[in-house]
Symmetry: C2
Amino acid sequence: MTILKVKRSERLIDMTRYLLERPHTLVSLTYFANRYDSAKSSISEDLTIVKKTFRERGTGTLETVPGAAGGVKFIPAIQEAEAAEFVKEMCLRLSEQDRLLPGGYVYLSDLLGEPDILRQVGKIIATQYLNQPIDAVMTVATKGVPIAQAVSSYLNVPFVIVRRDSKITEGSTVSINYVSGSSERVEKMELSKRSLKRGSRVLIVDDFMKGGGTVNGMKSLIEEFEAELVGITVFAESTFSGNRMIEDYSSLLCVDEVDIRDKTIHVSPGNYFK
Amino acid sequence: MTILKVKRSERLIDMTRYLLERPHTLVSLTYFANRYDSAKSSISEDLTIVKKTFRERGTGTLETVPGAAGGVKFIPAIQEAEAAEFVKEMCLRLSEQDRLLPGGYVYLSDLLGEPDILRQVGKIIATQYLNQPIDAVMTVATKGVPIAQAVSSYLNVPFVIVRRDSKITEGSTVSINYVSGSSERVEKMELSKRSLKRGSRVLIVDDFMKGGGTVNGMKSLIEEFEAELVGITVFAESTFSGNRMIEDYSSLLCVDEVDIRDKTIHVSPGNYFK
């Protein structure tokens, strides 16, 4: 009896770890039964407990796929209250006076290099697109990359990096010209030809949006690849006095006001929460 | 009795998740006792089971820190056999004919955009530096970023991105000139001044090393910041006929031979395994 109890404990611990490392991946009951040398009925009971605990603790959903080819699939998600709490904290951190840079820009690089911030950002954005099939996450180098990677890890799909400069290590690329929303200059961006399949469903993410020109450029690239845009989410947007090129997007944070004289930055939650 | 058993099951599942999301972080027994409204003695028993399972399944180590300010700390690590198996698989993928680019370069961007590959690379490199205190992971934009982020997530320390082009959103930067090892040109790289504290212990990672010039540049930057180099690990190196600027480094993979005429690439495990 004691041995059996320990067995179940160990299964639950290892199963939890195994599922967390493989989001959105179907794992069959047979796989677990073999892995732990246990009856399928015991595995099924284990999974019921995992499912309940994940739900109650806000870890995400354990989906059950019935039938012979069935199994379970872990779908990570963050609860709204936890997301709101995190964004409130980020508002405070973004408002720190010493983030103000010449030109009214806000320094973000430290935050986008902290692993626990990236985990939360990844979970929040992934949660937004849970019910839409996504084949790839797209971003532009360099500061969008950590966000794309974090989201891609929770959705378990690859991410692709659009670049403003060509590199010999990318092979053939497809390039487009776009108008930078804030400076109104014409710029170029490109993506390795082999990085995106035709018909892919693509989610665009980026660190910061002002005029929306960069995001608009990525939209053109998606068209050029005959792929499909699923949605756009940015970590932070700033209020923009000009004509924004992008209307349908989400932001976690909004930099409302930057006062260069008083050195104050005012940041509030973005439209993600509206 | 049944209720108690379920309680333990749920604790084990949630504890596992909680610890996996916070590597290298001390969590007190009191925290868990409050979180699950359970006696410390039960929590202690739970942790013994978690520890044993993590060890047996190769998840990593659960360190126990004794005393009043004590608790547990999860140290992720990969087992050598699993790391070797992964690298063997990567050798095959890197050898794929259609990766060969003009100039004898190898296309890597797709691999470095796959979340499960990045997880394994992150774990392998983090395992190498388990016993050395590290304050930050450093890389150069753009392709090194996913690797730095993966390693940083397992070591639970921030990563910083060195850039070849200055950006207004980085604030003041420190720049250095370096000699590119393969082309012997003098180039420039820079890092935001506020991104690295004096005395930080820094781990350098990158996607690819040929002559070692870029890595050497990062070494100079570390000196410029009065920080300390802990180690250098690259995803792949290529055999280099010239005089390599860096001697003390690790690589997971080694591109031994590229035959542009026959379109073949030969890849073997790097010196990480020697």
